[in-house]
């Protein structure tokens, strides 16, 4: 709001710069959510790559994107397509169990193992809502699915997750 107010008080110089800046801002804003969703679905490496692909697509198709009702949801699908195009002929499991990164603190191997057993949709829903704290409407928009579908994924996903973690302990 404060940034917008500043822009309003500046009387001139709002032609090319502001349009580009606003799109850049939109991308930056979308990228955070997009990366979380794609990483939740495909794991860190593929997710980050898919997010970069989606961003590149967004810059190439900005006019189409600006006319959309739910651009971020569409970009999520673009990222999904990028991964799918790559993985269609591979038998490697998505959301791979990744090697420990020395630069990072220890994660939660038990939880990660359990998460890999969920379906990608359930994992994305559970991660977005419970791990990142998005509201149902936001998460549903991001994944481009109806809220009822999201609730289904959440319900089944968290039930499965609980069961898996109980078995383990």
């Amino acid at each position: 709001m404060s940034a917008a107010l500043q822009l309003w008080e500046a009387p001139v110089d709002v032609t090319a710069g502001s349009a580009a800046a606003s799109f850049e801002q939109f991308i930056a804003d979308a990228q955070v959510r997009l990366r979380r969703a794609l990483v939740a679905r495909y794991g860190v490496q593929l997710g980050v790559e898919a997010c970069a692909e989606a961003t590149a697509w967004a810059w190439a198709n900005r006019d189409r994107l600006l006319a959309m009702a739910n651009p971020v949801g569409y970009l999520y699908r673009v990222g999904q397509t990028a991964v799918r195009n790559e993985s269609r002929f591979h038998k490697a499991p998505l959301f791979p169990v990744e090697t420990r990164d020395p630069e990072l603190p220890a994660g939660d191997p038990g939880l990660q193992q359990a998460l890999t057993r969920l379906t990608p949709d359930q994992r994305a829903a559970v991660m977005l809502v419970h791990a990142h704290g998005y509201r149902y409407a936001e998460a549903a928009d991001l994944l481009d699915i109806p809220i009822s579908t999201l609730k289904n994924h959440l319900h089944r996903g968290s039930r499965r997750l609980r069961k898996l973690l109980e078995q383990r302990s």
């Binding site: 917008a4 309003w8 790559e49 603190p105 939660d108």
Partner: protein
């Protein structure tokens, strides 16, 4: 979802975010074609450097088509088609010409296809995958060269002012949460106005006239001086 699991998931979410940050950082700093980068970002490199299988299959198919087309042309036996065919077979080129006109035109039609099909897709894939285009290159010419302050109907593209800001605020809440509220009526706002009009069965023209205004901003802050029970854009209190 019990609180213990909720907490674990929260921690895991933060962990994954950090890991993604590191991966993104690495991805942006890794020089392309470096051996270390290849080892580090296995998935990435596979995505970036392999042309898609579909395109590879298409290339093979195109080559096959070219060979077949060349063969047909050679059966035709006319001199331009033999020069054009990829693999001239001596036994066939000696065959007697049958209906030369039809076959040669087909051969001429077929020749450009392999080059057009083979070339663009791999380069396109490589370009999109290896280097996300820098934002600065992509700036398109602006829709509006200047904005005019307007506080009356119809608010339309290239207008600005507090009324536009109010419209954008409501559109952001009603239609598109990603709309940027800056008080300038650009193409994004116009699109949002159009979808709002479509949703409410109004004439879809992308301009905010009295009908759209009344539905969009029924409770605009201001005083209704002309007594039409709607606070018009000219009557709102700015701020």
């Amino acid at each position: 979802m019990n609180p213990e699991l909720e907490r674990r998931l929260k921690n895991y979410g933060a962990y994954v975010d950090a890991a993604a940050d590191v991966a993104a950082q690495r991805r942006s700093t890794a020089p392309t074609g470096n051996a270390a980068a290849v080892a580090d970002l296995d998935n990435v490199v596979v995505l970036a450097e392999q042309p898609h299988r579909f395109y590879r299959a298409l290339a093979v198919a195109a080559a096959a088509v070219a060979v077949v087309a060349g063969g047909i042309a050679i059966v035709g036996g006319s001199s331009p088609s033999t020069s054009v065919g990829e693999r001239p077979l001596p036994s066939q080129s000696a065959a007697t010409p049958i209906d030369t006109s039809a076959v040669t035109t087909e051969a001429v039609d077929a020749t450009p296809r392999p080059t057009t099909v083979l070339e663009p897709p791999p380069t396109q894939v490589a370009a999109s995958a290896t280097a996300p285009p820098p934002p600065t290159n992509q700036t398109v010419p602006p829709v509006c060269s200047s904005y005019t302050v307007r506080n009356d109907y119809h608010l339309e593209i290239c207008d600005e002012g507090p009324a536009v800001r109010l419209v954008q605020e409501r559109l952001k809440a009603a239609v598109d949460s990603s709309l940027i509220v800056d008080g300038y009526f650009g193409p994004g706002t116009r699109t949002a106005v159009r979808s709002f009009q479509q949703m409410h069965g109004l004439t879809v023209d992308g301009q905010v006239g009295p009908a759209t205004w009344a539905l969009l901003v029924p409770d605009a802050p201001g005083t209704d001086t002309d007594g039409n029970r709607i606070v018009d854009p000219s009557e709102i209190t700015p701020g």
